[in-house]
Structure formats: C-alpha cells, structure tokens
C-alpha cells in the first residue's frame, strides 16, 4: 500500500531538511536585500554604558570565546574591540586583553592583526593596551589572577614582562580595574563567581545567543551591568558605532534561516495533525 503524502513528509530524510537550510543560508548572499534592524534595549544599554565610561578608565576584556564560537561572535567581538580602542583614543582608557581558554591567545592576536594593532604593526603597543594571554587553571587560576596579576601572568602574550609595559603601571590586581568585559561562548560563571561577586567589579557580557536567556537573571539582579547577545547584538552594535562589519552582512541570513526553520516546524505540525485526522497515529 503506498504511503500518503503526510506519512512521507513525517519520515522525510534529513538531507532534504539540510538542503532547505542551505538554501536559506545562501539566499541572502546571492540575492542582495536588507531588512530593517531595530536596536534592542539590551544593545542600547551596552553601548550607552561603554560610551559613558569616564576618562582614564582601565578596562579588561576577557576573551573566552572558542574558535568554534568565533563564527557567531566575530561581529560583536570586533565591534566591541573597536569601541574599546575608540575609548582608548578619545578618553585615554587603558585596555587589557586576557582570557581563560586555550583559544584566548591566538584569537585576540589574529583580531589585533586584522585591526592593524598587532605589535608588529603598531609600535605603540604596550603604551595604552596589552594582550596578556592565557590565565591557566580555570576558576582557581582566575581567583589567583584577581589577587595578583603578575603572579599568574608575569609576561604578556609575546613574552614581554608586564613591568616593562607602560599600560600595566599601577595595575596589580582586579581592584585596579574599572570595568570587566567578557566575550564568551561557554558561560559567565567563572567571571561572576571570581570577579563580580567578591570584588563588585562592573561587568559587561558579550554572549553567544544561546546563553542570553540564562544570563538575564544576572542582568536583572545587577550582577551583570549590560549584555550583548549573538550575531544580532553584534549587528546592532555595529549600527550604533557606525562601523558596519560582518554582523550586518550576516544578519539577513539569520532572518532567512529562522523563517526556514519556522516553516519546517509548521509543516511538521500540519503533517502530525493530518496523520492524526486520518487515524494513522
């Protein structure tokens, strides 16, 4: 007995679903169209907080996004970094890059190179910004780092002793920092537990979209000051800072893929109810 269309649809091979998604992803790159992007309250708060940083602030940017997560976080990572370096130029703020993951050495280095701020490209490296590299040991390492930076990282990522970098003069522990940012794809737990709660340091998170709902209680309770989420957050920050980048290029693909997945779910439900009405389930 031949199967009904609904039964066939319910047992559809995954490869056709993948094909639909492929088309949804590729469509915006072949047929150029842009959709309006409203700036959300979360992104606006994030931008406003950074924009209103006082002069001479010392900002630490924890780089805890993996190579895998970089495909989603590239937009927000670069937009945030550009904004921080603008603060460095305009308000004399000091910027320190560091992280807890193994990727947190090479990834910021590649990004600095992309922005022309690698020590090989920019002779002023070390005067107002530094890339310290990797804090080994996870939570325990972070706890130690907060008490004494040089005890854990005596040198920067390129091996220069921190004492020889003008930017690190007077910066010895977490209490010397005015703001902590973290770009993350694995959770904000360590920074919250080891930095925010013990030392009350203001904290901005640049999170992967998946983590945003889970972080909202932290935002609401004040443990987190502001949050930027996913590709959309990156695209919004690019628009706010007027530095259009990969976020705004990729955001249309977000729309088409979301619509494709919604369409698939609608078809799945129609199939389910049609089969139920026919007594097949």
């Amino acid at each position: 007995m031949s199967q009904s269309i609904w039964t066939k649809l319910s047992k559809i091979d995954r490869k056709y679903i993948f094909l639909v998604l492929w088309i949804a992803v590729l469509l915006p790159f072949t047929v150029k169209f842009a959709l309006p992007l409203t700036i959300s309250g979360l992104s606006r708060d994030f931008y406003d907080y950074l924009d209103e940083m006082p002069e001479d602030s010392i900002i630490c940017y924890f780089w805890d996004v993996s190579f895998a997560g970089w495909s989603e976080m590239e937009a927000s990572g670069i937009a945030t970094l550009k904004m921080l370096f603008k603060l460095m130029d305009e308000k004399n703020c000091k910027i320190i890059l560091v992280g807890m993951r193994g990727d947190c050495g090479p990834l910021p280095e590649l990004t600095l190179k992309q922005l022309g701020l690698h020590p090989d490209q920019n002779p002023t490296y070390g005067e107002m910004y530094a890339h310290i590299g990797w804090i080994p040991g996870g939570s325990v390492g972070m706890s130690n780092w907060c008490k004494d930076i040089r005890a854990v990282n005596p040198n920067d990522w390129w091996g220069t002793p921190l004492d020889e970098l003008p930017v690190m003069q007077g910066i010895n522990d977490i209490t010397d920092l005015d703001l902590v940012l973290q770009i993350e794809s694995g959770g904000v737990g360590v920074v919250i537990n080891q930095v925010v709660v013990p030392y009350n340091t203001p904290f901005l998170a640049v999170s992967i979209a998946n983590n945003v709902p889970g972080n909202l209680p932290l935002l609401d309770s004040g443990l987190m000051t502001a949050q930027l989420g996913g590709i959309r957050g990156g695209a919004e920050l690019e628009q706010l800072t007027k530095e259009i980048g990969v976020g705004n290029v990729n955001i249309t693909a977000i729309s088409t893929t979301h619509l494709a997945i919604i369409a698939l779910m609608v078809i799945a439900n129609l199939t389910y109810y049609a089969r139920k009405a026919r007594g097949e389930i």
Binding site: R14, S66, A68, G69, G138, S139, V140, S185, G186, G187, P198, N200, I208, N210, N211, P213, G214
Partner: protein
C-alpha cells in the same frame, strides 16, 4: 578590623546554616529518625529500564565522560557513571565511556574498573574497549562521539557534565540511531530538553548520586536541601515585601 570580610558575612552565615542543616539531617538518618520520601525522578528511574533494554538487544550502553573533573556537573556524572558501570557489569552489557577530559581520564578509569571489580567482573573489563578518549576540544570530541554512536549503535546513551554548543548534535545523532537518550545539564537546557527522551534539570543531576545509591544518609542531604530552599523562599518573599514598601533593610543585611 573585623574577623570576617565585609560583603561576605551573610554568605558565610548561610554556609554555616547549610552545614548545620545537612549534617543534622545526616545524623538523624544515621539514627533512623528520618522518614524520607523522595519524589520520583523519571530520568533516573529510566536508567535501569534503558540498561535492561540494552542487555536484551545486545547493544552497548554509551556514556559521555563529562568535562573537567573540577566542574560540579561532571562530578555528578561520575556518580551516575559508577551506577551505570556497575549495572552493565552485573548484567554483562557492553559499556563504553567516551572521555573528553584529560584530567578526568584517570578518574574515569578508576570509577569504571572499580565498578567492575565491585561486581566481581573484573575479567570482563577491557580498558581499550570500555574507555575511549576523544579530545578535550569541544567539536573534535563531538565528531568523535558522533562517530562512536554511529559505529557502536548504542541502545542507551547518557550525557551529562560540561555540555555546551555541541550537545544538540550529539543528542540528535543518538536519537536518530535509535538510542534512548538521557541527558542532564545545568545549562543548554532548552536544546537538551527538546531532543532527549529524559532530562535531568540542574538539581536533579546533583541529586542523582544520592537518589541512585538509595543510601538514607545521602538522601538526607536532599531533605536538607529542601529546608534550605524553604529558607531561600522565605527570604525572597520577605525581600519582595520589604522592597515593595521601599525598605532596603533586608537587602542591606544580605549584602553585609
């Protein structure tokens, strides 16, 4: 200078209260003065059925080894690993652990070989077949785990501990291969809940060790947890009332 660090006094006090309650409950359980009734946790009850199904079909049981052993959810996973390993050893069901963490490898080795030894089946334990090390790197391990699922075709897959972005791909692969999927996590709740047959949400994962052991003294700690929850709920209710009437008093106490 005060003895206690300012801003941490309340948390220290809460820690002390929690210690008194937990230890008190354990003592009561030791004396047999505690009548405990735990609600059923379907995901944990399903473990026995899943292992039984694996035994009947002759297919293996596959378990995710968790991430670094310093993470609480990985430690909870180890308790479940002990239980599942013993269950498999007892029934002669093939058992495979896919280890992700380098630091966790020796721990997993000890747990699993100890489980086989406890059941008197140490001769059935072949380390190379039972414990497979993938990679500490997230997606390299995901590829490895997916490949292990496709080659071993487990009847039952258990995942907990350090699951993040790759969790959904692992779940989907297991389910599409026809495996019963039980997972547990404190994050990535939505994707795992949607794609697993059974799911342990946060505290259920941490309660697993006590629940599965059936030891009254371990279960007493869960009763203690309930009392702590009541204290927290009372604080939340009081805090809401205080803040509604514009008082910062309770907030200042908690921030002490």
């Amino acid at each position: 200078m005060s003895i206690l660090v300012s801003g941490r006094i309340f948390s220290g006090f809460f820690l002390l209260i929690s210690a008194i309650i937990i230890l008190g409950m354990i003592e009561l359980a030791k004396k047999g003065d505690l009548k405990l009734h735990l609600r059923r946790i379907p995901a944990l009850d399903a473990i026995d059925e899943a292992v039984a199904r694996a035994t009947e079909t002759g297919k293996p049981v596959l378990q995710h080894g968790g991430s670094a052993p310093s993470a609480a959810d990985t430690i909870a996973n180890y308790s479940i690993m002990n239980y599942i390993a013993r269950s498999c050893a007892r029934r002669g069901t093939p058992y495979v652990v896919a280890a992700r963490s380098i630091q966790g490898m020796p721990v997993i080795r000890e747990i699993v070989s100890g489980a086989y030894e406890t059941e008197g089946k140490l001769e059935d334990y072949d380390e190379d077949r039972v414990i497979r090390f993938g990679s500490p790197e997230q997606f390299a391990f995901a590829s490895f785990f997916m490949d292990t699922i496709r080659s071993e075709k487990p009847a039952f897959t258990f995942m907990a501990g350090g699951l993040s972005g790759e969790a959904l791909t692992l779940c989907e692969t297991a389910v599409l291969e026809g495996s019963i999927m039980i997972s547990g996590a404190t994050g990535q709740l939505a994707v795992l809940f949607a794609s697993s047959d059974y799911f342990l949400i946060a505290e259920e994962l941490f309660a697993a060790g006590a629940y599965l052991s059936g030891d009254p003294r371990q279960m007493a700690s869960l009763a203690g947890e309930d009392y702590l929850k009541m204290i927290l709920l009372a604080l939340i209710a009081l805090g809401t009332i205080f803040r509604t009437f514009g008082s910062q008093w309770l907030l200042n106490v908690v921030k002490m």
